[in-house]
Subunit: 729 residues, 2 copies
Amino acid sequence: MLSYKLYKFFLMNLVGRIIVIVLFMTVSAESFAENGYELWMRYRNIEEKNLASTYINSIKNIQIDRSFPSLKAAADELTLALEGLLGEVPVSDTTLVDGTLIIGTETSSPMIRNLKLSSKIAGTGDEGYIIQNILINGKSCIVIASNTEIGALYGTFHFIRLLQTRQDISELNILEVPKLKFRVLNHWDNLNGTVERGYAGYSLWDWQRLPMYVDRRMIDYARANASVGINGTVLNNVNANSKSLTREYLIKAAALADAFRPYGIKVYLTAKFSAPIEIGGLKTADPLDPAVRKWWKNKVNDIYRYIPDFGGFLVKANSEGQPGPQDYHRTHADGANMMAEALEPHGGIVMWRAFVYENSRNVDRALNGYNEFIKLNGKFNKNVFVQPKNGAIDFQPREPFHPLFGKMTDTPLMMEFQITQEYLGYSTNLVYLAPLFKETLDSDTYTKGKGTTVAKVLEDYQRSNGMSGIAAVPNIGSDINWTGHLFGQANWFAYGLLAWNPQRTAEEIADDWIKMTFNHDKDFINAIREMMILSRETAVKIRGALGLNHIMNFATHYGPGPWYKDNHWDARDYHKADTYGLGVDRTATGSNVVAQYAPELSKLFSDPKTCPQKYLLYFNHVAWGYIMPSGRTLWDELVHQYFKGTDEVTQMRRIWDTMEGKVDAQCFNHVKQLLKAQEDEAIWWRDGSVLYFQTFSKLPIPADLPKPEHELNYYKRIPFPYDWNGIYK
Amino acid sequence: MLSYKLYKFFLMNLVGRIIVIVLFMTVSAESFAENGYELWMRYRNIEEKNLASTYINSIKNIQIDRSFPSLKAAADELTLALEGLLGEVPVSDTTLVDGTLIIGTETSSPMIRNLKLSSKIAGTGDEGYIIQNILINGKSCIVIASNTEIGALYGTFHFIRLLQTRQDISELNILEVPKLKFRVLNHWDNLNGTVERGYAGYSLWDWQRLPMYVDRRMIDYARANASVGINGTVLNNVNANSKSLTREYLIKAAALADAFRPYGIKVYLTAKFSAPIEIGGLKTADPLDPAVRKWWKNKVNDIYRYIPDFGGFLVKANSEGQPGPQDYHRTHADGANMMAEALEPHGGIVMWRAFVYENSRNVDRALNGYNEFIKLNGKFNKNVFVQPKNGAIDFQPREPFHPLFGKMTDTPLMMEFQITQEYLGYSTNLVYLAPLFKETLDSDTYTKGKGTTVAKVLEDYQRSNGMSGIAAVPNIGSDINWTGHLFGQANWFAYGLLAWNPQRTAEEIADDWIKMTFNHDKDFINAIREMMILSRETAVKIRGALGLNHIMNFATHYGPGPWYKDNHWDARDYHKADTYGLGVDRTATGSNVVAQYAPELSKLFSDPKTCPQKYLLYFNHVAWGYIMPSGRTLWDELVHQYFKGTDEVTQMRRIWDTMEGKVDAQCFNHVKQLLKAQEDEAIWWRDGSVLYFQTFSKLPIPADLPKPEHELNYYKRIPFPYDWNGIYK
């Protein structure tokens, strides 16, 4: 803001007058409140003048062939980014000057063809790229080159990220190739616009006005995904609706595919197994029935008429009430292969979910997925992925990796993560998920000796089976800021970068995201990174300390519910609290889940003394008086974890409160309010859980900790007043 | 965009360098794509330098007491507006200089108290204001003064509008008082986030995170409403859910009320008549049952504990399946008065809908509302409004005014309009609704002699009954641009301004909106205004030419359906096409709706020769060969209307296409796509309807017009592929 007096002072001379205008413009730009719509593609003026001028001098002329759709997308993005970051757009002509940026493939760019980079570019595969400084005829140039146009687009986004994060661009020698081929988002969007487990508004897909109207937001969605390398999107919910396969919806999906194509994003659909009955008029969906097989072949051929590069199907079968091949006494492989055969001629794939469990209190649910699918190892068509979740239970705040990883040697597995915070406090809670993703990806399965990490298992399928992949259920919705919680954007961002390269660290991804989203103040970055990295451990302390899990409110998955019990479900099956102790015995004396892991791990997990503390109660039923590494008893340690967790949330609030003025006011208030709500939920979890478990341990709350404010019943009765039944069928 | 060469040229000297920076800032500001979020509160730099400097000199110091919430809102708005429009914010101190802007009430501002404006301010009532230039101690000042803080906020918005529309502010002498007291939006939002007949995304109310989190959007919603004088919002659907009256939801509604309060917006709720049973545990909802009456009293008392200035209830009773007093053989007055008595001590009101009809094919639906309510004239408590729609059928593209207007002499009527385009092509179609609103408001009822317009009837209740009001079902949702179609914003804007003053013209409102939303280019304004004004007549030609109505697709209300027929509903009841002719005989020889109007109108409507052509087929069954004022037969005229309508849409497309470059690219493409979709729907209506009516007229399509491309069945079978059943129960 410029006061009137200052204004008058400047008005006294010409240069002053111009400076006044400059300042006015700055004020004007700042008055745009930050609503989060831009995501990490926030291209604000680089204030470091020297750096900005170095960048300007390094990017004076852009040479790119806009006649290729993906290269046009790259050129458009550069225009937007450079306008924002540097305040100008370089020329784009054929002269070669110092500061020429050349982008493209050997096909699109004669210049690149002449550079003799073929052998290097060859190593970038279908989606990779190189970025390097090259002297051409004595002129300092930067080249972004690839085999494919989409590679060049990815390279362009990488290059823009270098500018956004203020990197030196004078000695670039980058070669990037994605470690996984299929990097997919599984939207759980219903055709009526609601999103199952969606906490950021409603579906992005405007089924009503498609295909007539394609909103600009579809392009921005594609840009965001391409900027982090995501190359596929499953448009609809795995709890599927056959209508999505009717012509009416296919022409709509095709309009989306057209919009996404330049950004390298393929469209996938969920396929309801009973579709041949529901929309095909058949009497059966038996996968060995010739009429059914023919129906799927015809349907798939139809889909490819509308969407020539259709990606394939994601299927949830014989799981939580969804129909599937077992309805006809066929195997999951029979079902998947039927679809796979229809898709194969077109290059499509099947992603067949391994999330199945017997709805029976007599069987440990952690066993089911492995047992069902391990016997089908190698029985699937070559274009089928089996898709387990990261853990065997269900997207919990912490679980050991799914035992199928490393064991499914002959059928490729595609990891499924969850970005939407179904079990992590919705979009109300700030929980940075990269540490969770990393924990699973870095887990050692020992299946081919030490160092056989889950990431390596996933990557190795590329060599052995010709395909590799990863998927995640996004946290994206119609909210202006896309993810409900501004910090939820970091999880979308992190997932994309980790899908491209699981070796990236959670810390460096956080750094990039903070710089791209907020600012470049070192203290700010350090504080926020620390808060983000801490946040996942904080969430675990509150929701699943020491290996506990699945003890949330049954109906909503928000707030605590270790006490929940009905005819079908009893939370005690997940925590087994009794007067002796706490935790689920999944060793040989119990459900023997440990046997599904490599012997090294099985041994480790089976003994409370060697079992990592974070998985202790997942694998072992432990006495309340058991002495933990901290020297405290299990009971005392558990209660301390709850209190530490809530204290950490309070600490997050304090950190954020010091950021007032360092971020836009709207953004500041948004996060401030939500952290308060996060604290409230944490206390509800803490006090409810501690009081509940106390009814078993009969032990006092450690003397150094305060007592809960209310009786147990108070916490049990807290309503989550949302019309869940209206949304979730 | 600034080319590199130009940049180099500027770089040659210091002043040049500064200018370059200036230009960069401009580029940077322009690069913000226009997504429509700002609505008409779009405060872009005034480019006319002389005018801007005049404004700057007239607003050098702002004196306002920010300790009053509504005055703080006014100050915040001025800050935002002046930063945007003028690039600076004036000082705010107590010195009196030329260019002092004084805002407030005699209570908040000693300066205003000293100005001896009391008698003038007294005339502004509870919500009005004066804006005038005054010399104070020889200094040129502008004063915005009122009796209430909200009046000052309204005055501030008016003042900002003067700047946005580039008015002279040197000789202001404005006194504004709203003509109607209650100016309300009736949201049809469900608790699960869907919006009945909503075509702009989903509900704005984040029931999940309220009251913990109040999104910035709530403030922007309130700003938009206050800027056009809307002072009430009914949060939920008239097809009501009792849960909205439970404590869980009341604390959420209270958080919204808190956010809206500084902007003068009261919160109302819909009351489901059966709530005492559903959430009260009673066995009956009989309005004469003492326990029921007590329940409502207690419930209302409860509501006022959470929301001390709660507005009251909107009720849809015994209409389209909703419960009501007639379930207990009581009258609508019995039901309304029960609630009114509970609300009265707190100053709350009841808005009781008159939209009732017998679901019987034997009775002309146009008769029902009048017959049901006219007999209750004067039987309602003094704080009850009866709320009829503008016409007797249902928010059609055109209907004659509802016959209750002018006849309901002893109970105040509150008009209900529909802004959401349920029958006007959703948010896909550009239809400017001010002409529709004006047509009803300006209609002469003749009930107290010539000149007794509907607007006058509404206004006169203020004197006779101490309250007057108007309501509309908004087109607002979670879409970033709020209304789905950018031009839908004009309808929200127009409704507000007409609610404040029904005398405003559709043209001047369009002018203001165009200037505030787009730019100040005269040719642009003229072309767009012309297109907007035309658009409603165009929509009528396509959907209800010559007085036809309610012949849309039965399930979706999008696209044509004059052929629809099932056990409960037959579109022929609304158009009565037969071999003789077309139109519904509502004269004395038919259902005699005409008798519900004043004798002057009854006579006029009953004779095809005197009946306004626009209402011809609403009141008369007319022979296909009847000669119309144009000289054409009814059949030829009807077909011509359909073709003229579609031609006009094509014309709208042409006009818009010439605007490329004159508006932001994102905005341009948005409207361009939608106009194409609008044309497609128009052709579907035209060809389907013409071919259908031809099966009765057996007459050829006039030789000068082209023939439809397909057979009738083709048009009948066009699906509207949206999952309606999933959304609308």
